[in-house]
Symmetry: C2
Subunit: 266 residues, 2 copies
């Protein structure tokens, strides 16, 4: 039994490519259809209603293209929209797998770094407390991380100063585990790791959701056939037709020649 | 002869409120209908095609609400969309008035600070060269200014470090005049003025477009009647229904009780 249909992945922009990179490593035989809603990014500063509306349209678009399931590779959309989506295909969000991974690793004090909307939703806090009521949870919104990452200032004095300010409350709270609760943030993992110190563990929700996806597809016998990536076909759709996505995605995936298509999703 | 219909103003978000503030000072008797396309902001990193599509819909929305004209209070939209808009009412963009003001002030060396899209369009460069072929023009995209302003970090060590980096080429080029080519940037005018030094003049395109608007309305006898602001009625529409706009707009206009409406503009 196998299912060669692609896995749908959506994000507001390039952040979800950390999920694609994790997917390629863990499940190289799977094809991916990616949707970056670049015309309407970012989601992290917008209201839950708006993010829900956009997420529903994104799922419908991917389903119309024949995917076997959808990964919401955006913490904000996972946090506020996952429960309200009308589903035609199975859907995976990043919050629950990220929270489980953190709950398994922590000794009791967990920090959450995420966008304004994800922090306001308290989605990670609720998921973590449902796993372990005794956890101490410290949340920090980091609205400047996404623009700094999109600017490419990854190892930079300005980014370090911003990170120091955002991380100070987590350092003071002596957290032992930090959830990178936005799919952009793994790009700042070296900097965040250095500032938090070697005894603090970082949780990448992109890796966590791909682990969960792999288990679920295997259990339901929906993995693509084949052992290698020779039959895998990766295709990228964006709602803004600019070159910005191709440039950043090329750096991100180490592949300047990605198959890119402009689509309208209203 | 007078015309009491409101003046329509649109921007991707809160930046255009600098135009509203200038309008209130110069033309207090005029009513304003503002549209902030907060569900799709920012425009400054998106492609010209996307910004044109959104701008056309915004103009149609304002026209459907009975405005007597529309001010595009967004440099990016003015730069890439003004020429392609199908107009039902008169439209004013910020680029031409800003460029004229700079051409009148400068001794020959002009710096332009703007979003990535505005800089790429070279709209200010073209407008300035059409006024004076001999001008030396130095352009600098500042993609982090808008997120820093939206974060409220106006007088801040991080913002100063970012500004120093963006302004260094203009300082080195010894420009005598700097155009604040994004309606957010006047909020950083104190910082930019301090870094550029007292001999450099700053051009606020928000003030420039309102001066032009006042002259045009007077000439066409379309000013609102009355001498005071007692009959003026200001109303704000946003495409994202969150509280973020109200909070920032309240600080911005010094008025926490603005009349705010959520609208859908596709």
């Amino acid at each position: 039994m196998s299912d060669s249909r692609p896995i749908g992945v959506f994000d507001s922009g390039v952040g979800g490519l950390t999920v694609v990179a994790a997917l390629r490593r863990r499940l190289p035989q799977e094809s991916v259809l990616y949707l970056g809603d670049t015309a309407r990014l970012p989601y992290g500063t917008k209201s839950p209603e708006t993010v829900r509306r956009y997420s529903q349209r994104n799922v419908e678009f991917l389903a119309s293209r024949g995917v076997k399931g959808v990964v919401i590779a955006c913490n904000t959309a996972s946090a506020v929209a996952l429960d309200s989506l009308v589903e035609e295909v199975p859907i995976w969000g990043v919050i629950a797998p990220g929270a489980e991974c953190a709950a398994n690793l922590t000794h009791g004090r967990v920090g959450i770094l995420a966008t304004e909307s994800t922090i306001t939703s308290d989605a990670y806090g609720r998921a973590l407390r449902s796993l372990d009521k005794g956890l101490e949870i410290f949340s920090q919104a980091c609205p400047l991380f996404v623009p700094l990452i999109e600017e490419g200032w990854l190892e930079d004095a300005v980014t370090e100063a911003v990170a120091q300010r955002y991380l100070a409350p987590l350092v003071a709270a002596q957290v032992d585990t930090v959830v990178l609760g936005c799919t952009h943030y793994p790009l700042l993992a070296p900097l965040i790791g250095r500032l938090m110190g070697p005894r603090v563990q970082l949780v990448d929700s992109a890796v966590a959701v791909v682990d969960r996806l792999a288990e679920d597809l295997e259990r339901s016998q929906k993995l693509a056939g084949g052992e290698s990536d020779s039959s895998a076909d990766n295709h990228y759709c964006v709602t803004d037709g600019g070159e910005r996505f191709r440039r950043i995605a090329g750096e991100f995936l180490g592949d300047p020649g990605i198959s890119l298509e402009w689509v309208e999703v209203l």
